[in-house]
């Protein structure tokens, strides 16, 4: 393993992707979902993946989480193989649907991952108490998920994802189904939680303002085949509600939007490179 040296000295980056490729076999032929993905995500860094439908951002997240095997390239999470990292619970996952178990109380839902890994009862309860406090749902510990609003359910899902104190949080449009007000509130909360836990976050979203508000870097992707077209660094300092009205916020939004439209010079270069590669393949 070439990463041996780095693991022994400094802690490895949260995610390291090199030349990741993913092809889905269809009944007839196949479709390239991801091509030539190189990305490094530092510890504690917040990175959003954004792009139109079908650009492979969810696929990329699932490749990082070892829910889908890549067809090529290397995926390292915490300096380990994605599979090892999954088995070691190095990451937590939150989906667009909260995906809570309706027959369990909120507390039992948060305890579920700990229960699955054989953590004893007392520890589980203490951890669940902490986490519910972190997401502000201590008063709802004994309720069942169907009695909670969508935003509250999503907060429970985030608490659950944080249960094993992962160094990495993978989130697939977790706020996609929420109304705008709840959504902004949840974003502020997430920035706080990520800061408090020191976890790196990979966040898939359709929303440009959401990506900009949350992230240290926004990874812009394009479809067919799914590739990274540009990485936009965002420097907004500490996020507050005022951040949303700051000129830099709008500047960053414009930058991401232009990258999405493919106006940026870097993107054009990439497209040319892609065409050249395609011609080479023919």
């Amino acid at each position: 393993m070439s990463q041996e040296t780095t693991t022994s000295e400094a802690p490895p980056p949260a995610v390291e992707l090199s030349g990741v490729h993913k092809t889905f076999a269809l009944r007839r032929g196949s479709v390239v979902a991801l091509e030539g993905i190189d990305l490094m995500i530092g510890r504690g860094e917040f990175v959003s993946l954004i792009g139109p439908s079908g650009c492979g951002k969810s696929t990329l997240l699932r490749v990082i989480g070892d829910l889908l095997p890549p067809t090529g390239g290397e995926v390292l999470v915490n300096g380990k193989s994605a599979r090892r990292a999954r088995l070691d619970q190095d990451y937590g996952f939150a989906f667009q649907q909260a995906g809570l178990l309706d027959w369990r109380t909120v507390q039992a839902n948060v305890e579920l991952p700990l229960e699955l890994h054989g953590v004893d009862r007392g520890k589980r309860q203490r951890r669940a108490d902490e986490l519910l406090q972190l997401v502000g749902l201590s008063d709802f510990a004994k309720q069942r998920p169907p009695q909670l609003s969508g935003g509250m359910q999503q907060r429970v899902a985030i608490a659950r994802a944080l249960a094993e104190s992962p160094a990495l949080l993978l989130m697939d449009e977790p706020f996609g189904a929420l109304d705008e007000m709840t959504r902004e509130h949840m974003q502020t909360e997430l920035v706080r939680i990520a800061g408090e836990t020191g976890a790196a976050v990979v966040f898939v979203t359709h929303s440009i303002p959401e990506a900009v508000f949350l992230s240290n870097r926004v990874v812009v992707m394009s479809p067919r085949p799914g590739r990274i077209t540009e990485i936009v660094p965002v420097d907004l300092g500490e996020r507050t509600d005022d951040t949303r009205e700051a000129p830099q916020f709008y500047a960053a939004i414009t930058q991401v939007r232009e990258a999405l439209r493919g106006r940026a010079v870097d993107a054009t270069d990439d497209v040319v490179a892609g065409i050249e590669r395609a011609q080479g393949a023919l």
């Binding site: 989480g65 829910l67 999954r86 088995l87 619970q89 990451y91 937590g92 996952f93 989906f95 649907q97 995906g99 178990l101 309706d102 027959w103 579920l112 991952p113 229960e115 699955l116 890994h117 201590s138 008063d139 510990a141 004994k142 069942r144 169907p146 009695q147």
Partner: protein, 315 residues
Amino acid sequence: MTTGVNAHPRFAGQQHRLRLRLGRWAGRGLLVLVGLVVLGAIWEAYKSWGPADGVSVFGARVLPRTSDEAMPHLSTIWHAFGAQEVGGAITLGPTKTVLDSVVSAAWHTLRWAGLGFAIGVTVGFLLALLMDRLAVFERALLPYVVLSQTVPLIALAPLVSKWGQGWSVGPFTWERSTSVSIIAAYLAFFPVAVGMTRGLKSPSAVHAEYFRCCAAGWWKTLIRLKLPSSVPFLIPALRLAAAAAVVGSIVAEISIGLEGGIGRLILEYSQQATGDPSRVYAAVIGAAVLGLLAAAIVTAVDFALWRYHRGTGAR
């Protein structure tokens, strides 16, 4: 302590939910009673005002004759329960009434059906687990599971009885009633196998992915996700299985010729029916009550597992 503050409203909430559920069930019970009364009223009304020769369409009678032989008054059936058993029907002694015979026969059948139900549910459950664990089994087994139900029971019953005859393992000996239970099980396993197979597949993709994220193996996923999610599929399957076990027992008793059960009693009463048709109805009512009892047992299971129903509370 937060628990102290939370305990009260939570307790009250649960009590409230329980009361709501009990209320709903009481309402349902009342509806069943009303249904019975209406049914009885229709019976008597048709008997009083229906055409004496019944209603025929193209020579086939679709509604029965209204004579006392075909449709005895409800009161006659009621009195039949109290009538003295004629010697020869079932050797119970001269002091027994029809009610005694019916209750005793129903009790026997219930026990045989109960054993059959237990075996059937276990087998169906294990089959479903096997098919869930290995997809190969599902492709290989499911057609046969379906096929098994197309074999006519009447043909199967004597065969099973013959196969089992004289067979014994340790303290267990194959009685003739064991054949009845096996045939009940043969009918009862089917809905459970099919229902559980679907139930085990019912968790949504998000849940399946989440458990994979947690690196939960097959067993843990089964216990904490698949079994709880399959409860809404299991309950109707159990209800069908219970009814099938009762019907299976009755048919098996008749085709094997085993005495002491309700099936045999119906047969005997109908053979002497020329004299007193109300006894046949008495025995049929006994069988119906048996079916209701089986359904009630499943309902109790249903009640105990309410937590696992879909959409608990308001969404």
